[in-house]
Symmetry: C2
Subunit: 258 residues, 2 copies
C-alpha cells in the first residue's frame, strides 16, 4: 500500500481491493529533485500526478513576479486531479524537497469515474478536503494578524505531517524557507522572520535548525485560533468503520532535509 491508498482508505474506507486496483494504474514512478516543477502552469493537460513521498507546494506566479503558495502537498496527495475534468493547469506544483511521484493516465481516471464508483468517490473526497483547506486559508490570510497567521499555518502543517507519520506532538521538521512561508501567508520575508522571533520569545515555538519544536502545542493552537475540523482527518463516516491504524510508517526517503 502506498501513502495514497492509505490516505484514501483512512478518509473514505476505500477497500483494500479497490486500493490495489488504483495502484495498479500508477506508472512511471520516479524522483523529482528539490526546486524542480512536478507539474507546470499552462502545460497541455498531461497525466495526473501523485506524491508518494516528499513535500511539495502548489503555487501561482503573478504579474510582477510575485508568487503565492496556495497549498502544500504531502505524501498521498494528488497534484492535479482536476486536469481530467478541467483540462488545463492554472498553476504549478513544485517540489520543496526530493519527492517520489507517480503518474496516472487521464484516461484511466476517466474510466474510474465511469466504472469504479467507490474509487471515484474517494478521489472526489480528496478534492473536497483540499477545498476545505483553501477556505480556511482564505480566512487565515484575510482576517488574521501576521503572528496568528504563522501560528495557524504551523499548527496545520504539524497535524498533517503527524497524520502521515512525519511529525510528533512536539516537533516537526519543515523544509521551508522564510520566503516560502511569506508567499504562503501573504506577508514579506522580513516580517516572517520578525514574527517568528516573537512566537519564540513567547515560548510558543522553538527552532533547532530546520526543526520546529512546540513546547506548549495547546497554547500555540489557541493563539493561532486553530481548530482541526476543516482538515477532515477523522471523517465521521469512516470513523465508525475504521479498524486499521491511521498511522503510516515514516518513509525512508522522507526525513525532510534537502
Amino acid at each position: 500500500m502506498t501513502t495514497v491508498t492509505l490516505k484514501l482508505h483512512n478518509g473514505t474506507n476505500l477497500s483494500a481491493e479497490d486500493g490495489v486496483l488504483l495502484e495498479a494504474l500508477f506508472t512511471n514512478r520516479r524522483f523529482i529533485e528539490p526546486r524542480d516543477d512536478i507539474v507546470r502552469d499552462g502545460e497541455p493537460a498531461g497525466e495526473v500526478r501523485v506524491i508518494l513521498e516528499g513535500f511539495a507546494c502548489r503555487y501561482k506566479l503573478m504579474p510582477g513576479g510575485k508568487r503565492v503558495i496556495t497549498a502544500y502537498l504531502l505524501p498521498g496527495d494528488f497534484c492535479n486531479l482536476h486536469v481530467p475534468l478541467l483540462g488545463k493547469m492554472d498553476h504549478s506544483v513544485g517540489a520543496l524537497m526530493k519527492c517520489s511521484v507517480a503518474d496516472l493516465h487521464q484516461s484511466d481516471v476517466l474510466n474510474i469515474l465511469d466504472s469504479r464508483p467507490r474509487i471515484a468517490r474517494a478521489l472526489w473526497w480528496t478534492t473536497l478536503v483540499d477545498e476545505a483547506i483553501s477556505r480556511e486559508w482564505l480566512a487565515n490570510i484575510g482576517r488574521r494578524s501576521a503572528d496568528k497567521k504563522l501560528a495557524h499555518l504551523l499548527c496545520e502543517l504539524r497535524l498533517r505531517l503527524e497524520n502521515v507519520g512525519l511529525a510528533t506532538q512536539d516537533s516537526m521538521t519543515l523544509p521551508l524557507t522564510h520566503d516560502e512561508l511569506a508567499d504562503t501567508l501573504g506577508i514579506s520575508t522580513v516580517h516572517v522572520s520578525r514574527v517568528l522571533q516573537q512566537l519564540k520569545s513567547d515560548n510558543l515555538v522553538a527552532t533547532k535548525g530546520r526543526e520546529f519544536l512546540f513546547p506548549d502545542l495547546r497554547k500555540l493552537e489557541i493563539f493561532g485560533e486553530f481548530r482541526c475540523d476543516y482538515l477532515h482527518l477523522d471523517n465521521e463516516r469512516s470513523a465508525t468503520h475504521r479498524t486499521e491504524s491511521r498511522f503510516i510508517e515514516p518513509s525512508i526517503v522522507t526525513n525532510l532535509t534537502r
Copy 2:
C-alpha cells in the same frame, strides 16, 4: 431546465436526459429571505442545497466576531455538495438577496455517485471549478494591493454574472455592501470606500445606486490583473461539443435588488 442543469450542461456536456433525472430529485423548492442563512455552520449534515435564483455567499465566522466571505454563489451553484462525503459543514451560506433554492437528499447524491457516472462527473466538475476560484482568491487576497483586489473581484463577479445573464459588458447590479466587499477582500469597510472612490476617479468604474458601470472594462481587467481562465467558463472538452447557447434568460426573481 433550471439554472443548475444549464450550468452543468454548459460546463460538462451533461445530457438533457441526465439533467432531467437530476432535477427530478430536487425537492422542497422555496424562497429564502435576504440575510437568512441557507445552510448553517455546524449543522448536522442535512440535505444538499442548491441556488436556483438569487445571490448568496459562503462565509466563516471567526473568533472575535470577524467574518470572512470565501465564495459567492450564483444561480446554478451548490451550497454544500461536500456534505455527503465530508459529513459536516465547516462554514455557513447566507442569502444576500432573495434566493430561490431546492434540496437534494444526501442519499440521492450518494446513489448518483454509484449509478450515474455522467451526473457524478458533472457534480465533481462544479466542485473543481469552485476550488480553482478559491485558489485565485488566495492570490488576490494574499498578494495584491487593495485597489487591485477590488478591481479583480469586480471583474470576476461581472463575468460570472454575465454568464448567467445578469450582467453585460458594461454594467452589473450587485447586492453587496462595502462591509461584504471588505470581508471578501480582507480589508476594512472604510478602506473599501476609499479604494472604490479611487477606481472611480481613475475612470475604471462608475456607480449608479447599486449598479456598477464599466466605462472601459479592458482597462479595469488589466489593472486588476484579471485573466478569466480560472473560472473555466468555456471548458475545452465541452466547447467542441457544445451546440446550445451558454446564455441564460434573466430571471424574474433576480433583478438583484433587495
